[in-house]
Amino acid sequence: MELKICHLYPDVLNLYGDGGNIICMQQRLKWRGIQSEVSRVMIGDTLRLSDCDLLFIGGGQDFEQEVLLPDLQSGKDREIIAAIEDGLTVLTICGGYQMLGQYYETYDGVRCDFIGALDLYTVGSKQRMIGNTVCHCTEECGGSTIVGFENHSGKTRLGPGVKPLAHVQVGFGNNGEDKTEGAHYRNVFGSYSHGPLLPKNPAFCDLLLLTALQRRYGDATLEPLDDLAERKAHDAMVQRLTGQR
């Protein structure tokens, strides 16, 4: 078996260790004898998702997001929307997550249109939401507990067309108000969790990998790994933040 991963704008959307998600996915595949290949798609490159199994988009700084919006809107947006409707597995974090939504409205009311692949929108707020998080994934998203680190000023609101990825126990999540974190639509998983998200949350990582492999091979399974180090790092944060084991 092999898995083809596409990393969109790795040179521009590379904030807060999000690239660690790629390292994590590749290693967890390798330890199971599954090959993987990562194609890095930059500004100006053609994006072809037809032979891709998993798309990853990370977060960026404002300057960097401004750099790539015109490129995204010159064709890549339609390719992404079509692939999502076709069931492509997508993981997208923070700025990348916002960009799949309808629009971003700054605190002073300037609206910036995004690609509209997901029924959600984001409004800038005065205060940044920064800190460690503990969230519980919905049953549809595997039901695992995820720990992460969020750092965003945008408040994201989910429309009826998407469901939350998780519910917040510690932290702000989408907006600091409705206790939702991230979004789930078909095989798209959006989240505000940096950290990076996947290494300390191996169950969630494996859910993504399995979803992608099953789409490509029909019936695929993943053998369990020795996740002692992962569990220790995960549990240490859950305990520190909630006082629970």
Partner: protein, 429 residues
Amino acid sequence: MPGRIAMKICPNLLSLLSQNVKTVAVTGTNGKTTCSRMIEEAFSEAGLSYFANRSGANLMSGVTTEFVMNCTLSGKMKKKYAVIECDEAAARTVFGQLKPQVIVVTNLFRDQLDRYGEITHTLSNIREGIRSVPEARLCLNADCSLTASLSEDGLPNPILWYGIDGTAGLKAVPSRLSDASHCIRCKAEYEYDYHTYAHLGGFRCPKCGYHRPQPDFAVTEILLMDDRHSEVVLRTPSGETPLTINLPAGYNLYNAVASVCAAEAIGIEQRICIEALGRFSCGFGRMESFPLAGGTRMILVKNPAGCSQALEYLSGIDKEYILVVCLNDRGADGTDISWIWDADFELLGPMSERIRKFYVSGDRADDMRLRLKYAGLPDEKITVEYSPEKLTDALAQETLPVYIMPTYTAMLDLRTVIVHRCGGAEFWE
């Protein structure tokens, strides 16, 4: 802190005290402390009467404290010169009161985004600070496109540029990420003639023409680099000169050439600064040596660019050793530890035979262990010791050389324990 109390009583105290002091201020993301210490060494070699602050005291209150400590009861300064390291976020307010004769900007990298915000925000803090002192001479890193952009706003300040030329052939780290891949002016992607490390190097924008300024002081050739020191050829406005830097690693070439540049700007003879660099030892966790195990060196790491540079240095060490990484996530370290995934720990992969053992320590030791595991390093060679005391106990049993990479607060804690263990007096204090 006396500075904080004094500022309450007299908010512009620093500007009153700094009037008759000739100051070199050093700011930027990485290398502030090392560069400041190098400049201090030159001041000392030149026999100037000076004082300096320490890295932990580089905000307005700390800088003011340093000036208060160095004045008489009537408010007269006891010394004529100062070397002041200034936090890059505090530069905006400190520079106006400090009125430095010379400002060195070392570089700009992503650093503790939870504390500093975005990199362009830090850049505008420094820019605003410089605007308040139009007469100060600037020593700017020509190889950093973000730092070099400070000259783009028609600042009246005289500028001395420093850098490392492509001819030096400094081995570039193949970095997975850049903090400045696109033009700060027009947002087109930069082209590079060469990289020295991270986004530093011979950059130019194909669209608007913004490019690396020609440096006045540049390393043109590397004659020797080993795990203890470097020998290079330095081009200066008065010709080429050999330069020995008694400190290893490529990034310290930048600190050294910046200090030569600053010495020139404040009026110290070049020969004196060059002699000082040959004898220099930094201390305080920056390549500091301790007589522990088979010899221990401590290399402070704070952000991906600096950490990758340290890893590049470690990956070039040609003998067996033990590697220790201490990761804390307290305020001064940055509460977000995700940056360890941006640092190229993968560089250690091919060297993992030579590294006999790994220790991870600190509040986030478990995260560090995970990072090493995913960098492909054997988990069974990794030992977790959360506390600095237990870690030091374990290291004291080792006979191989030890390299320790701590974050800032981890360095403070561990250093205290190690210095005590080695029976050494705290020379820094």
